[in-house]
Symmetry: C2
Subunit: 351 residues, 2 copies
Amino acid sequence: MKKEHKKYSGRPGRVTATDVAKELGISVMTVSRVLNKKPNVADDTREKVMQTAMRLGYIPNRIARSLVTRKSYTIGVIVPEITHSFFPDVIRGIEEVVYNTGYNLLFIHSAEDESREKKAIQTLEENQVDGILLSMAQTVKKYSFYRKLIENRKPLVFFDRCAKRLGASCVGINDVEMARHMTEHMIHHGYKRIAHLQGSKNVSIGRDRLLGFRKALEENNLTVNEDLIIESDFHEKGGYSAMISLLELPKKMLPRAVVAVNDPAAFGAMQAILEKGYRIPEDIAVVGFSDDVRAPFTPTPLTTVNQRPYDVGCKAAQKLLRHIDNPNERVEYLMIKTEPIIRRSCGCNGT
Amino acid sequence: MKKEHKKYSGRPGRVTATDVAKELGISVMTVSRVLNKKPNVADDTREKVMQTAMRLGYIPNRIARSLVTRKSYTIGVIVPEITHSFFPDVIRGIEEVVYNTGYNLLFIHSAEDESREKKAIQTLEENQVDGILLSMAQTVKKYSFYRKLIENRKPLVFFDRCAKRLGASCVGINDVEMARHMTEHMIHHGYKRIAHLQGSKNVSIGRDRLLGFRKALEENNLTVNEDLIIESDFHEKGGYSAMISLLELPKKMLPRAVVAVNDPAAFGAMQAILEKGYRIPEDIAVVGFSDDVRAPFTPTPLTTVNQRPYDVGCKAAQKLLRHIDNPNERVEYLMIKTEPIIRRSCGCNGT
DNA sequence: TAAAAGGATGTTAACGTTAACGTAATTTTC
DNA sequence: GAAAATTACGTTAACGTTAACATCCTTTTA
């Protein structure tokens, strides 16, 4: 009575647990028990199963497993712009946490587009992800999709760009506080006319940093000049064109300093300033936000805020895993404490 | 006779196609046909199914679907260092191609570590990905894992860091040619003592760029000085320490120019050069490879090669999809043509 | 107008795994 | 030494979907 090995026999059929069981003349269940390291299996059986599984090149099918356990061990990650150096670092942090926990990352790039983000959420749900880590696209206006997720009890943790009061945890940085701090730093330099390149109002960090900016001016008894608050986006282009329009103001209305919503916007602004023949910081000082890899390298190194992306990623992933493991995990708004990085674009003698 | 809606009733059970079918008193199969836009369904039935599916909040379960169709519509992506700005751009390209094809990306970061890469491959296989896009970790020594994948007929396409002759397609750039070109550029500047900060030999781009470097010297009848070829890695640290050890050579043995395996290594080297009080390019010229976002911003803007990461990602994804759709798709080594970006670190008057 | 073709459904089984329960043999307990 | 507990399995059904085939009814064709 010959036994036939199924391995690579004819069609490209994968080796299954059933094949391993048949090979040994035992039940699939015992094989399953061994592979999942469950108790109540004799040592020698365990040994035999491991060996034949190895010999046949058995690879467990997580899809079949997921179907019955109703757990995919997959986490969805939605990022608005992977190209912005903040996000790869966040992903590093996320990866580092999920690595060794057995979870995998299903990654989707929303390209700052609301409809793509919606589609992404739908896709993640179809894939039965156990939870979602999301940083909002800047064009998102409606939160109904988030609400639906939360109603469906799909664990959701926002990072960086958060939607609060929806019942999902958030991991961000102390945006208001740091925007206030950086603006005040400009004020302490003696600058009076301070502009703000504002991020999209749709997004928490856009609103919060604007708030911090206003706070600083008010607390220091400076009038907030609405003409100097101008909507940019989070990228070089937006910063550039916003700055260009500021520079078209009459000479004496020109800002003496610019607080940009983030570093890419600041880079765009710096380029505009230099192109128009002004000096940084002698004519116009600039501060950014997020400590982009390029920040130390700009002609005048950019004063900014270290956004600790790696830590944001870690904390967000950890919180999500806790939500997944415990449906009663408390919804929290975690704030990573960040610090200013003083270089020279603000007028200091930094590195 | 009341009908009960199952939606959100008690336990968190998802709405299934069966629920939709029961609601309408029809068979699941008809529902399945509608949802998959298959023919042979009456228009009004189709309509009714769509509506109740919507009303009940039905979300198709891709996991169950995958199990029976033996297709996951998922592509695995393994990247050695997401933090290196080349890779996020590649991912953008990949995303752009798979977006709208219905495929998803399962993302794993190997952290330049062979064992993590192996584990990643295993994980992707367990998840039944339809194909894998992979850029080798620099510490990878054995190709047996790749061979096993290829034997198992799991479509695999390498990008950037390739292993050829294994039967998997590769998408890279013209490394040898461009390294030769850049080195020759240095020679045309009149530099004689030219050093090479070499990448890991385990990896194609490390070997190929070294080859191009040697070629240029030989073709121009310059002797290759082995002391000036020094192993770095692909990151700032390696470039820095490699350069430091070069700078410890006796004064007259010092290199006049440095060809770095990539930009991060070049940045490290530049830092070392500046710290030791030398000028770039007056004392030591430097060229990099990959056009990192920081390259235009270094104190002396870095001459480098545009690696066209976005195109690499697109091509790799396209090729993989073709391998998935057609098992007889020809194995190819695709080469994206790249161009030098002349700035100032080489001695030119670039931007 | 009978036969053939096609359209709109339903039925059954399967994908590969595990949960829940069942059973026989062995060991423990008092 | 009989009841109870434990161990080492096996059996059945289910997870949610689709492929393949079957059925019934309508329309077309010669």
